[in-house]
């Protein structure tokens, strides 16, 4: 694990949507490994590497709030875009957000005042070339995280909830989890990640938190 990285991320709000409750969104209690991977990838990622989340430290007590917003009902259909391209005019490619049919008010149960420490490492993938040695990628990640550089600003589940981040250089500098989180807590079944190679198959794991720390199972343990 010497090739690992430790990243502290925090923000005012977060929404790690439970897939079973995504119409009126309800967040998981804590960040999912998949969202944590997204945060790390926002700072540095190349096809040559695959980030793996090892542990998540939950630093703040888990606290929810509720927000309802006007949202749109549909996605842009690919066919309509194709038609507009062929027709050479945009007249039917509009989405009227005020139209009652297209408008939905949805509530979201989101997390408040979150702070996590993500421990992760990466593996080289089949796209790695001779020049892709591990040290290079680790150094790139650390340099960027240290300077606050990122490909795009990482976010806590959804883009309106941006994440602040800071590299933690040394294990001993990991802040302690809040004392309210002491003891064992079963978080139930959580999304582990989505297998994009196999038709977006979601994989789940039984998450449990010990004194605020969640150990994430490896791919081998998840996919039998």
């Amino acid at each position: 694990m010497s090739k690992g990285i430790i990243l502290k991320v925090w923000g005012d709000n977060a929404c790690f949507t439970r897939p079973e409750m995504k119409v009126e969104r309800v967040s998981y209690d804590v960040i999912t490994p998949s969202a944590a991977r997204g945060i790390v990838e926002a700072i540095h990622w190349k096809p040559a590497i695959r980030w793996i989340i090892d542990r998540i430290h939950v630093l703040n007590p888990i606290c929810f709030e509720n927000i309802r917003r006007n949202e749109v009902a549909d996605m842009i259909s690919q066919d309509k875009v194709k038609q507009a391209m062929n027709r050479g005019n945009l007249s039917e490619l509009i989405y009227h957000v005020d139209d009652g049919k297209n408008r939905q008010q949805r509530a979201a149960v989101i997390l408040k005042n979150v702070c996590y420490v993500i421990e992760a490492h990466f593996e080289l993938t089949e796209h790695a070339e001779a020049s892709d040695n591990e040290g290079k990628h680790i150094d790139m990640f650390r340099r960027r995280a240290r300077n606050g550089q990122c490909f795009y600003q990482p976010y806590l589940g959804t883009r309106e909830f941006t994440a602040n981040f800071e590299l933690i250089e040394d294990r001993t500098a990991i802040p302690r989890c809040h004392e309210q989180l002491n003891g064992e807590k079963d978080l139930g079944w959580m999304l582990w990640d989505i297998d994009f190679k196999n038709g977006m198959t979601p994989h789940f794991f039984r998450a449990s938190m010990t004194n605020g720390i969640i150990t994430i199972p490896s791919q081998k343990e998840i996919i039998l």
Binding site: V81, Y95, N147, Q153, Y155
Partner: protein, 290 residues
Amino acid sequence: MTALNNRYEFVLLFDIKDGNPNGDPDAGNMPRLDPETNQGLVTDVCLKRKIRNYVELTQGDNAGYAIYMQEKAVLNNQNKLAYEAQGLKHVAKKLPNKAEQAQSLTKFMCDQFFDVRTFGAVMSTEVNTGTVRGAVQIAFARSIDPVFPQEISITRMAVTNEKDVEKERTMGRKHIIPYGLYRVHGFISAALAEKTGFSEEDLELLWKSLTEMFEHDHSAARGEMASQKLIIFKHADKLGSAPAHKLFDLIKVTAKNPDVPARHFSDYNVEINPENVSINGVEIIDYANV
């Protein structure tokens, strides 16, 4: 169209006088509040709506500045929009590879619609084709101090239904905030801008829209809203040169006299303080003074 070569963050301060900046559908259209701190909230999507409206108003007829997410009122303007589609048509039909077709669709949407390349859009009937992540990311706006919404009863000297004619008048309600100064943070990724084609020209339009969007959004509900200050952090390169949260911390907004409720922007001090922190070549731009 010049590509973006720098990462940016921005802080926008806007205020409201005797109006409701963003109603909460869950609370009978009262202004949104953080229940724990009583700070007022304005959602990201509320501000994006105003940016879209501003761009539509000012760029209505310009090719490449169409707005996909429209409000109903402007339906007819849309038909006027014309654009050059020859090349695209050709590409879509000729390329056999499905992934590339999907890419050409995405590119078409980005090229035509300002809001698609700025904020992104989900354009997928199938899995994983053509979801655009926009260059600009906006967080929730939050008031500097707690706000105190007031409920104002109003009367109307007419009735809607014949049977109510005896009543002579009907009562209504308005929710207002006497005054609130809000602060919102935004993020612009040069890397994502490269993918969507969000250009220097688009960026300039975004800055203008942020400072002028409330000028064209007056209504009975809003009261007097205005952008008061836009501070831009321009990084030295695409990836950026300093953590966003440290830059945001350089801007301090405080009430001059905390004991008296603020009622005007001049009741606040805005300090831009680059001294104590090393900012690694991040340029701080006060937009109004450029």
